[in-house]
């Protein structure tokens, strides 16, 4: 039948169009090039130390959400385990640890080479990472946004969770979107895309920081690792 004859090419074209469209808003420096040493694609296994687990930063409120990065790209898989012994036993997994930053950092991702040396994360400097370590600020006050009205536990959790997902995004080699209104999809806050990979607190949806993985983040992830 004619419909069957044309269905396959139509669907292929539709898929190509969707793919092209979905990758259209990823731009240079939205992600680092290269991959990791001794890892297949982006299969990330995280190990959350006791130091990262606080009254605010809990498995249920924050860390279990790492799996939100799954089911976007078929080459990306994120899993989380938790320290449950006195001495950490990470078995080669990447560490999530707590830190009292002196400054107003909410979280930080540090990549290392195979010898344990810090690696350069300058935009445009691309290399294979051997290991990634995520530090999360354990001071709950760091997640208090004085400009977002009444401070509630829900808002603290939203900001803490956003920071952790943001850092996992860095571990997946996504970087901060550039502020440039000429770039496609950069339509909020004077030239940013709505994305979890923006820095800062979650506020209204008219501002750039998304509380969860947003369309721009997914496009960048797929552009980096494949659909």
């Amino acid at each position: 039948m004619k419909l069957k004859k044309y269905a396959a090419p139509f669907l292929a074209g539709l898929l190509a169009a969707v793919t092209v469209t979905s990758t259209a808003s990823a731009h240079p420096y939205d992600y680092w090039q290269r991959i990791y040493l001794s890892k297949n694609d982006a299969n990330i296994e995280l190990y959350v130390l006791y130091t990262a687990q606080t009254e605010l930063l809990t498995k249920e409120n924050v860390y279990d959400y790492a799996i939100n990065w799954n089911n976007i790209s078929s080459d990306v898989s994120v899993s989380v385990e938790y320290q449950n012994t006195i001495l950490p036993n990470s078995n080669g997994k990447w560490i999530v640890t707590g830190r009292e930053f002196k400054n107003t950092n909410l979280g930080r991702m540090n990549p290392y080479d195979a010898s344990g040396n810090l690696m350069d994360t300058t935009p445009g400097v691309n290399s294979d990472w051997s290991y990634v370590r995520i530090d999360i600020n354990v001071d709950a006050e760091a997640f208090v946004d004085l400009k977002n009205g009444l401070i509630t536990p829900s808002k603290l959790i939203t900001n803490a969770r956003k920071t952790f997902l943001h850092e996992v995004g860095h571990a997946l080699k996504l970087s901060h979107p550039k502020q440039n209104s000429t770039l496609s999809g950069h339509t909020v806050s004077n030239g940013r895309p709505y994305a979890i990979m923006n820095q800062g607190y979650v506020r209204s949806s008219s501002e750039a920081v998304a509380p969860d993985i947003a369309f721009h983040d997914k496009v960048c992830l797929k552009t980096k690792w494949g659909v």
């Binding site: 002196k102 979280g107 344990g116 810090l118 400097v125 760091a142 956003k162 004077n190 820095q199």
Partner: protein, 211 residues
Amino acid sequence: MKRITTIIAAFAACAALTACSSTPQNSDVSVSQNTDTFAGLKLKRAGITDRVVFNTLDELERSSHIAVVGTFINDAEQEVDYEYDPYFKKDIIVDINSANTIEVTKVLMGDVNVGDELKIDQNYGIVDGELITFSELTPMQKGDEWVFFLRKVAKSDHYICTAESDSRFPTKSSASKNGIMPLAEGAELGVYNEADFNDGIYKEIVEKYDV
């Protein structure tokens, strides 16, 4: 956690920059904080952060304890933090801070006086011939003058720039006073990348404070 502290003092032309390392036996080696020093180093911008971001001067002022114009006057005291990492099963560098002393030359906001000396922590240090930085801001060099919006560090008498490149800016005199940072494209602005300079807040500062 193991912490290595190095006093970065004013000796000209440290001949062996590689000796200016954080190994325990070299804890008192000195490095002068001037253009020549940084010209000899390899830059490594380590880590990438999620941090508080400010879009207006009003936001910045609300989150800052003081705002001053100040000149960097003294040697920097560097602390390198090592922690045991179960992946490598050894100590690795997890953080580096340098405490820079400034003399306040003008008060814009807050309980502070002209002539006060303040210690400002910045997230960078020199290790084994490398300038390792977690900060968007370039290191300060002696004689540098900047506008600072600062917060007190908890449990310390030190300050930090409230929000990285949203909180340290050049003055009208900076271009003629400040050392040229050879490792940064945005050296006159005090940032490694010009894209990180918060031009919006800077214009508000100039209009409000005429600095």
